[in-house]
Assembly symmetry: C2
Homo-oligomer: 287 residues x 2
């Protein structure tokens, strides 16, 4: 699985470099490129593996993987802004607005979102119907009923009178991180015109497990390993899976979700080994 992840990382880096090289040079493009450096590329991996399971060649799935990573990079750049989470460290480097400026970070994020949708029109992906279904699905996952909605709930929670309950956190994270993860895992069936239900179920469980692991890393993690600030949730008195369940309870819940994710892959049999390994990876990672 880690070999394939490394392969995907290299493929996505090349694809994003190519897309960025076609843009006018200048600080905007430099900031976009900066924002795309690094990352675990879990979303790209989900795209590439879900595509492989549906007989889609790597080169056809690659623009989709690049699109989802460009969109993810935009969301991180905007989430890190002073008016939002006000973070200064991301992927082990200064955040985009610290490295460049707030204005450039806003614009780089904006243009990365635009780029993501442009990448999904790439003919190599497949039929016109396939590309349109991906674009519609990404718009749904990324916008005001998906990722951005989740982020707005997160911002609202900061000033709410009562800390969020477990159900509300689950709903929030399902939108904020889950929607894009589910889109990524559905990419293969969407390109192939196949039923996305099994991979959607897998991704819903995986996305939640991923977020629980993130909450745990904020408590147990190391800044050098994670490449971002830790201990922020507790310092802010923020309700998280860990604040509700405790570290042991959170770990137990994450394990159960991994089992759920693995069970959803049943229809794919042995071929889904990499996705099974990924589910384990997201809760065992130290960054």
């Amino acid at each position: 699985m880690l070999d394939r992840l490394d392969e995907v990382k290299a493929q996505v880096a090349t694809a994003l470099d190519g897309a960025l090289a076609a843009l006018p040079e200048g600080e905007l493009r430099d900031a976009m490129r900066y924002a795309c450096i690094g990352g675990k590329r879990i979303r790209a991996f989900l795209v590439m593996e879900s595509a492989r399971l549906h007989g889609i060649a790597d080169n056809a799935a690659l623009p989709v993987a690049a699109a989802v990573e460009a969109l993810h990079a935009y969301s991180l750049v905007h989430d890190d802004l002073p008016a939002m989470d006000d973070d200064d460290l991301r992927r082990g480097m200064p955040t985009c607005h610290v490295q460049w400026s707030e204005a450039t970070a806003i614009l780089a994020g904006d243009a990365l979102q635009t780029l993501a949708f442009g990448l999904l029109t790439d003919e190599t992906i497949g039929s016109e119907a396939a590309r349109l279904s991906l674009i519609a699905a990404l718009s749904h996952a990324a916008g005001a009923s998906g990722m951005v909605w989740g982020q707005s709930l997160d911002i609202a929670a900061e000033t709410a009178a009562e800390p969020l309950g477990l159900k509300a956190i689950t709903r929030l994270q399902g939108a904020k991180t889950g929607a894009l993860i589910t889109f990524s895992a559905s990419a293969g069936p969407l390109i192939a015109g196949a039923d996305p239900t099994p991979l959607r179920d897998y991704a819903n469980a995986l996305g939640l497990a991923f977020q629980i692991a993130d909450d745990m890393l904020d408590v147990t993690g190391d800044e050098a390993e994670t490449g971002k600030r830790v201990g922020k949730d507790d310092a802010a008195g923020k309700a998280t899976f860990v604040s509700h369940l405790g570290l042991d309870g959170a770990r137990t819940r994450a394990e159960a979700l991994v089992a759920e994710a693995e069970a959803a892959l049943e229809p794919y049999g042995e071929a889904a080994g990499n996705l099974r390994a990924l589910a384990r990876f997201v809760i065992d990672r130290d960054n």
Copy 2:
């Protein structure tokens, strides 16, 4: 022409309301709706009229008109942010971040862009090929080689050692405002699979005339009429068409561009009366 503009305004308001109604309720959606209120709807008008000239029914062109206005609204919300142009008045109302918050304004802008691309997947627009060509064209016009690029040049000019020359301003505005105007006027041919060249030439001249008129309004305009702050360029020592050409020279240049825009409509004959009238309208407007 003004009757048709009023008709388009009403159609677009209904289409945007419908798209927003499908989203989860809350501050994010309220802010998105707020950002979409008002405006001259010139871009929507260009979409609807260019579609009509190519035999496309209003209901097919409407999602495209709504998309371009959602995208335009996003760009205004982000341009008005404190880290960008720091404006407090827009379309006669407090800007989005003043009315809500900076975080909500950033997110509302983000989600309006996502919505714009989602709207372009609407089946009523026409063939799959038509929708994909619109999405590719919008990504090109709105991103890091179009509108956002222009805005980044504008931000950079504020801190540049030398004020911009006329050629640099023309290039900047061609990207910042021109690209989306040109996309709008090309929508009809793109849906119909026809040659967009005449309408593109029309829109390039129109976009520049529009910006020259904007620069003139910043000098001669009234805050109550324009619905936004005036006198900002001069106060900031910003190089504009007016600072280079003077008011009379700018007027002469705008008139020449209107003539150029009108000439480009030749192939459409009498049918392009509304677009001819629009070209005159953009330089005679007082808001």
